[in-house]
């Protein structure tokens, strides 16, 4: 404590301290008025773990009306590229609370995450529905909050249907891509996943299944039930593991 105080003083010589006190009072009040909260303590400038929040709808080819909360594909992809390139970033945490969205945008994000050379951990909080499922499983390790849910259901198309057989075939192929991605990146067998996808009676007047927390782990879709603390611990473990691997390679 004492040490810090002295260092602070040394940085602001000439009695700048009392002035700073006065100034900081008004922004603080402003902050409380703006958000109803004060600022959290600052850590060191560089963070070796970055965090991507995937919330609302996943927006791809179509720009959604502005009142929708969206995660934009063109925001996420360059960030992933930057994270891959930045040597100071050692791990990535993905926070998911999404209702689904564009299949191709979702699959693109999933593929980018799956091929990222740095350790990635995902947490599903609240909901990780539809295309959120491949994103959740694409990470090195996945967590789901106890109360979080994931809806698994067949893919649908909103738009012009030209030929019914052709459209059906197209949808089937698209669905196959999602199924194969999920089964490849998680422990769920293809039969189980398809069973959940086409199950009747679970969702009101629709086919599919809503898996909650523990259930998702039971089916092998998600690795573990847990929250932020668990996820950070796991991510740090994975980072250490990767460091050890790299050391081994040099020797």
């Amino acid at each position: 404590m004492n040490n810090n105080f002295i260092r602070n003083d040394a940085e602001n010589p000439g009695g700048a301290e009392p002035q700073k006190e006065e100034k900081s009072a008004s922004p603080l009040i402003e902050k409380i008025q703006q958000l109803g909260q004060t600022n959290v303590p600052q850590l060191s400038a560089d963070s070796k773990i970055h965090c991507l929040t995937i919330v609302g709808q996943i927006e791809g080819h179509m720009a959604l009306p502005p009142q929708n909360k969206t995660t934009k594909y063109e925001h996420i992809i360059p960030q992933l590229v930057a994270i891959e390139q930045n040597p100071n970033i050692e791990g990535l945490l993905i926070i998911l609370n999404t209702v689904g969205g564009d299949v191709e945008a979702g699959l693109a994000i999933s593929e980018m995450l799956a091929t990222l050379s740095k350790p990635t951990v995902s947490i599903v909080l609240g909901g990780g529905h539809s295309i959120g499922v491949p994103i959740a499983v694409s990470c090195t390790y996945s967590f789901i909050a106890e109360t979080a849910t994931m809806t698994i259901h067949p893919i649908r198309l909103t738009g012009l249907v030209i030929g019914v057989p052709a459209t059906f075939e197209y949808l089937d192929k698209m669905q196959e891509r999602v199924v194969s991605f999920v089964t490849k990146h998680s422990k769920i067998p293809e039969e189980t996943f398809k069973e959940l996808m086409f199950a009747k009676g679970n969702l009101t007047r629709d086919i599919g299944t809503n898996v909650i927390g523990e259930e998702a782990v039971k089916y092998g879709l998600i690795d573990e039930v847990g929250g932020l603390g668990h996820a950070m611990k796991k991510l740090n473990e994975l980072i250490e593991l990767k460091k050890d691997e790299n050391k081994g390679l040099i020797q």
């Binding site: 963070s47 930057a82 994270i83």
Partner: protein, 72 residues
């Protein structure tokens, strides 16, 4: 509130496109932000689009904070 109606949601809650007209994405000190122009001189931060968790602790750009045009 639970609605039981055959009216489409857009008819009950028409959205106001003008409310979102002033929103734009800017880069402030290298941090991508979604902002809204509040008046002639200021932007108000709506969303921080960065992946660096430290940027979310920066009180200059926390959602609700005002950024003056002169600082851009």
């Amino acid at each position: 509130m639970i609605l039981y109606t055959m009216m489409p949601q857009e008819l009950i809650f028409p959205y106001d496109a003008d409310a979102f007209k002033n929103q734009q994405t800017i880069s402030y000190q290298g941090i991508p932000l979604l902002v809204e122009q509040t008046d002639q001189q200021n932007y108000q931060v709506i969303r921080v689009l960065s992946s660096d968790p430290q940027h979310f602790l920066n009180d200059q750009i926390c959602p609700g904070a005002k950024i003056s045009f002169s600082n851009l």
